[in-house]
Symmetry: C2
Subunit: 497 residues, 2 copies
């Protein structure tokens, strides 16, 4: 991205023609990057301090030409990037900065809207409203659900739990919880496999880690509803006040799906707020034949689905659908004089829906993604990712030196290397798989992550980037087997075959 | 932005050449927009429901060509945009999507990094570290402060208050606050003029609105330290446990600066966490001659400064500097097995610093802004904005039909129309100024907001957009006077003069 260097003038912004020229350069660079992201190692190879050491200790005294800044982006920053947009990114949950989404972010940055009030950009508020209703329909959720976009599922779940706390009718919003002998200990229920954001949300909200009771899961890592019912009964007897249950559709560890219909029965009976964390798995319901992954969610009070996970939208974009948005707003609305507008309550002001006053125009990129791919295009891509997941699972299942650890309801496979001659409880398996993972990740061609399940260290291969094709999954399997061989864990004839 | 329409293929992303072509179109559109943002009315003229009504009720069944989407952006979305990047945007706090910042967002979206762990992009973590240290030095804060980027000042302040709650040593993180007879009521102090985010943060954290005591301000809207000291003494006697005080450098209403040195004395004596909300005003300290706006802040426990306010960085980007980052991390750290990495504690994982696991690579745009403008370039722009603020204040002061309501420590002027023949407590002044504001905002050339101060309705003219020049401020003054004339509130000879 080198070019001759005009620097910023004494006042004002860069000259728009300079923006145009550098903008074209950056777009060209991105086009090349998106055409061949494999030219970079997926997991950054720098050591701690490498990037820091290559940067000056202070901001420059005067303006620098943008071409120098962009050259440093390539020279210093890029080697330190772990490439989430690489088709060999299989760690955590694979996500996508798709082309329509990237252009959406570009327009969002240029408009630089703060969508806090309807008036501060009516289109931002109304497009958020419309595009989340599109998503609601795609997911098959009933019309009673109203949507709002937050930055992350962590915040979506925090807001859901704040609404649950508000719904408990304890005047927590006004009076807080400290030093109040009139309120009992409050408890939220979620499974042992739930995302850490549930516990973190409870910490932030002042419920504490003890305010979260983790319900055991079955052999397939799904919440045990009978154990949930027992826990609630026990807790009530011990003086706790249960306020919410958080079920998960697509847990982070294994993508297991909690039995939401049974959990919804219990929540209804016990008068608990039911929140569903479907941040990753929820979008699978866009496929008619997978609609059942959200079974029971029509009875939830809130459900979070993250377009920035498996819906090809750049981070950040998390959609919370809420059936009781009045309660959600009651938990948060606070309007100082300087934010009152002539429109009054005739419009929705999304600042009333959460902790953040500042809100980017995130609906724009989601709108562009949904239009560019369309329902059928999204279905095709999700379906293909699930096919690739099943394919990889078949390879694991077909090889006696590997072991699958969990079912594959979506596109994420949890497995480990277990050489056929090793017992499944061999204590060396943990270190073996840890070394295997590090070796594979050092290849630069694939990046996987891990999870510990019931003491067993397992690898996770999560398919979700829009650029991932069968050849990338196949290559990951080759690298895994080659690395296993290198570690001396496989009979040569098998691994080489 | 019309062009012929290729639609997304059956799988994968848009063709990179399509991205290149549309990317160039979007960059060209933005260059034109940045060259003449005045061609759009600054405050959107649509009525509630206009944008919604122009959009289909459901997502398209199949893929649509991006040129059609971009055409709809211009046709449907753009008329509903309130233009925060317009030089006539004087409402709330004026902000800037500057050219280097926009390009930073574009690269951020293309890389689509989640900066939750060091390993998930070492450059994102280390650049955040470095660039916030640049900013710390520019602000003149001592080396003991460590920085972290959040999305908004609302979250920065929430995190600071969470750290204060943690520092109180009441085991709130583990045990929560509900149903605990062993802990007293907890209280946070801030001024009557503080931003609503302090109160909202307290609500989220379970301290409640009653957990915030608002300290009266002096005639210049600054917190009264004597009143603070008295309030703390009273509260302790009544069984409250004071935990934090939040001072403001640049309040939202009038940009007043609390006497932080005196407040720091009290906080130190009382053992309270001192948080400073300098989200808007803090950056003025970059100017050596304005360094005193952060006087006493070296003794704060935390201080928030928003590069997305008055530092030319697109939303969102809020920097929290903390002198006790160990406490901040203790309030939030929670590491499930799937997020453990081989680097262990040898690296910083910024997910440990706040409620959100997902984190965009926000440091990139801030780095590009600081380099493109340099220290001297930033100083020149801030200085010019403050000169324009003083200029506007002089016009108000020099006109007997107008009244300035507050000092102008930065670049925001708070004033009202008070025809010379009207008493300052005339009850008609509220409605007059309300109508004046609506009239000015309907012009499409200037957008101001308001604040109610001690029952007085006042207008705010906030200068901060990088494209605002003297002519835009001058034009706003002309429009204000013309509108006052139209309202019949001025003697014709004066207003027409």
């Amino acid at each position: 991205m080198a070019s001759d260097g005009m620097v910023a003038g004494p006042l004002g912004d860069l000259d728009p023609e300079e923006f145009r020229r550098h903008g074209h350069e950056v777009v060209d660079w991105i086009a090349g990057f998106l055409a061949a992201p494999e030219r970079y190692p997926v997991l950054a190879r720098v050591k701690p301090g490498d990037v820091r050491g290559a940067l000056p200790a202070s901001a420059p005294d005067g303006p620098e030409p943008l071409d120098r800044v962009l050259a440093d982006f390539e020279r210093v920053i890029l080697p330190g990037i772990t490439h989430w947009n690489h088709p060999g990114f299989f760690a955590y949950f694979a996500i996508s900065g798709s082309a329509p989404g990237i252009l959406g972010e570009l327009l969002c940055a240029a408009l630089n809207v703060n969508a806090m009030l309807w008036r501060t950009s009516p289109a931002a508020t109304e497009l958020e409203d419309v595009v989340l209703d599109w998503l609601r329909k795609l997911l098959g959720l009933p019309a009673g659900f109203r949507g709002v976009i937050y930055d992350t599922a962590s915040i979506s779940t925090l807001c859901a739990l704040a609404a649950a706390r508000e719904a408990a009718g304890l005047e927590v919003r006004e009076r807080g919880m400290a030093g109040r002998p009139d309120i009992p200990r409050l408890r939220v229920y979620t499974s042992e496999q739930a995302h850490s954001s549930v516990e973190k949300g409870a910490i932030v909200l002042g419920l504490g880690r003890e305010g979260v009771r983790k319900i055991p899961t079955d052999a397939e890592f799904r919440m045990d509803p009978a154990a949930l019912a027992r826990a609630i009964t026990e807790d009530r007897a011990a003086g706790w006040r249960p306020i919410a249950v958080c079920a998960t559709v697509g847990t982070t560890g294994t993508t297991s799906v909690d039995p939401v219909p049974a959990i919804a029965d219990i929540a209804a009976r016990e008068g608990l707020w039911l929140h569903v964390d479907a941040a990753y798995g929820g979008v699978a319901a866009i496929l008619p034949e997978r609609r059942e992954v959200l079974a029971g969610c029509d009875r939830a009070d809130s459900i979070v689905v993250n377009p920035h996970k498996w819906l090809f939208t750049p981070v950040d974009c998390s959609a919370l659908f809420c059936r009781r948005s009045d309660v959600l707003k009651r938990a948060f609305t606070l309007v100082p004089s300087f934010l009152q507008t002539p429109e009054g309550t005739a419009v929705e002001n999304y600042m009333d829906w959460g902790p953040q006053l500042g809100r980017r125009f995130r609906a724009l990129k989601l709108w562009m993604v949904l239009r560019a791919f369309g329902r059928s295009g999204i279905e095709a891509r999700l379906s293909e990712h699930m096919r690739l997941g099943r394919l990889f699972a078949e390879w694991v299942d077909g090889d006696p030196d590997w072991e699958r650890i969990a079912p594959v309801p979506f596109s994420t496979v949890v497995f480990r290397l277990r050489p056929r001659v090793w017992a499944s409880d061999d204590p060396r398996l943990h270190a073996l798989n840890e070394r295997l993972l590090e070796g594979v990740n050092a290849s630069g061609e694939a990046f996987l992550s891990h999870v510990v399940l019931g003491g067993r260290y397992a690898l996770r291969l999560a398919i979700g980037n829009i650029r991932t094709e069968e050849r990338h999954v196949r290559r990951a399997w080759e690298i895994l087997r080659a690395e296993a061989l290198r570690l001396g864990a496989l009979p040569v004839t098998v691994a080489g075959g």
